[in-house]
């Protein structure tokens, strides 16, 4: 898969790999150290295969550890929705209720995708892919009276999500497991609504991620992906400009993100799987006020002391926040929504 090959040669990937000691590769090498396989190319292919399997496991561990470490501080300051708020473009949000903006993000996403409010047609079974501490899951379960499953790589988040569900009387309706979005532990065709709110950025294999979203969606069900992308490439472009790539690499390294793709890459993936009513939106203007607000919160006494207590991964993530602002301002980073429907049988 092109994405996987790009992944293990990607500079930000090597940075992440070096953080933990590499396990013994599962590939066998020639017994004599002086002999080489018949062609150099086959040896490097073996090494690349070992490196790419090494990389994904290390990425998953990095993601899990990042969220294990930083979930608490985020929840403390920003609440149980671990995603951007939705604001009026260009608004001054100094007095804003950010939690309300985060709720608005959920509502605008449902509206964009055309989810029905009609009790007969509302979603009854929902999956929250990359659920964090379950903010979306609990909100959607309550809103629609639906049953919601959430999956996350972080055991700390799954535990917290379940505890919050129990505390809020939603224990029958929502539950959370540690699982891989690229290998969801559900049979096919299960969910009326497949929800991925700001988790797509972490997926190292976008085609596989999209394929799994489609697999677990019920016939006639809706898929909603809200995620960070890079700008669409122009017709003559093969890749981003080097300065753009460099900016993204620094962000990747701090947030345990693999290679970025564009909004139109997602659209093409859904098209290739014959999804219907595919819509894509650019909400960059609506989230731009968010990062300065996050930075301001980090600079408050509470924010600052919490950061110091939280750990290096969280601190590193915090230090990179100005790069997100730069990325948005320079048009490199886009905040995208993609919605579509799986054909009914």
């Amino acid at each position: 898969m092109a994405a996987a090959l790009q992944l293990q040669t990607h500079p930000c990937f090597h940075g992440t790999c070096q953080l933990s000691p590499p396990p013994r590769p599962s590939v066998s090498f020639p017994s004599s150290s002086r002999s080489f396989p018949s062609s150099r190319r086959s040896l490097s292919a073996h090494v690349k295969a070992a490196a790419s399997s090494l990389s994904t496991t290390t990425l998953q561990e990095g993601i899990a550890e990042f969220y294990d470490e930083s979930s608490g501080i985020w929840e403390d300051i920003w609440g149980d929705h671990m995603h951007h708020g939705y604001y009026e473009p260009g608004s001054d949000i100094s007095g804003s209720d950010h939690r309300a903006a985060q709720i608005r993000m959920v509502e605008e996403s449902l509206r964009f995708a055309g989810i029905s409010e009609d009790p007969a047609n509302r979603p009854k079974r929902i999956v929250d892919v990359g659920c964090g501490i379950g903010g979306s899951s609990r909100y959607l379960a309550r809103k629609y009276g639906a049953k919601c499953q959430g999956i996350t790589l972080s055991p700390v988040q799954a535990g917290r999500a379940n505890a919050l569900a129990n505390a809020q009387g939603l224990a029958e309706q929502v539950c959370f497991e540690v699982a891989d979005a690229l290998n969801q532990p559900f049979p096919d065709d299960q969910f009326d609504l497949v929800w991925s709110m700001e988790s797509g950025e972490h997926m190292p294999d976008k085609p596989k991620f999209v394929k799994e979203l489609v697999r677990v969606a019920a016939p006639g069900g809706t898929i909603i992906v809200v995620t960070w992308c890079h700008r669409d490439l122009g017709p003559s472009e093969e890749s981003l400009q080097p300065w753009e790539q460099k900016l993204l690499n620094r962000i990747c390294d701090a947030y345990y993100l693999p290679e970025w793709c564009s909004t139109s890459d997602y659209v093409k993936l859904f098209q290739s799987l014959s999804l219907q009513d595919i819509k894509a939106g650019d909400w960059t203007e609506n989230v731009a006020p968010f990062w300065p607000a996050v930075i301001r919160s980090a600079l408050t006494w509470k924010g600052f002391t919490s950061l110091l207590r939280s750990g290096l991964k969280t601190i590193k993530g915090a230090l990179v926040m100005p790069l997100m602002i730069e990325g948005f301002q320079k048009g490199v980073i886009k905040f995208a929504i993609i919605a579509c429907r799986k054909p009914a049988e």
Partner: protein
């Protein structure tokens, strides 16, 4: 992990044709009371794979669920049965143990009530 959750999970190992239901290996079962909601139970009943559910409840140490699924009218009329159904579905928690792929036997651990369904690269 409640049995309601167990009824929705399946093995995601590559090449497995029938990964449902996962076998349950019990180390610790905990009972946690939760308020009964009759409408919820009646709505969820048709969506439950009954055999998987009743087998699992026996493994968890509760023998009150019949092997054959009851008629829907039983849920409408028999409040005592609804209570037992509620207990088995929502109040029994596998706190520690494992879920096993029915074809390969591969273990997915359950710790502090949370199933870990992650696969290592070689199983994908």
């Amino acid at each position: 992990m409640r049995l309601l959750t167990h009824n929705m999970l399946s093995s995601n190992i590559k090449g497995v044709t029938n990964g449902f239901p996962l076998k349950i290996q019990v180390e610790k079962v905990v009972e946690k009371q939760v308020e009964i909601n009759h409408d919820f139970l009646r709505n969820i009943f048709p969506k439950i794979d009954w055999k998987a559910f009743s087998d699992a409840s026996r493994i968890m140490g509760y023998d009150e669920m019949p092997e054959e699924p009851p008629e829907p009218s039983v849920l409408e009329l028999n409040v005592e049965f609804l209570g037992k159904f509620h207990h088995a579905l929502l109040e029994l928690h596998l706190e520690e143990g494992a879920l096993l792929c029915p074809e390969t036997g591969r273990k997915f651990p359950v710790n502090k009530g949370i199933p870990n369904m992650l696969l290592l690269e070689d199983k994908v």
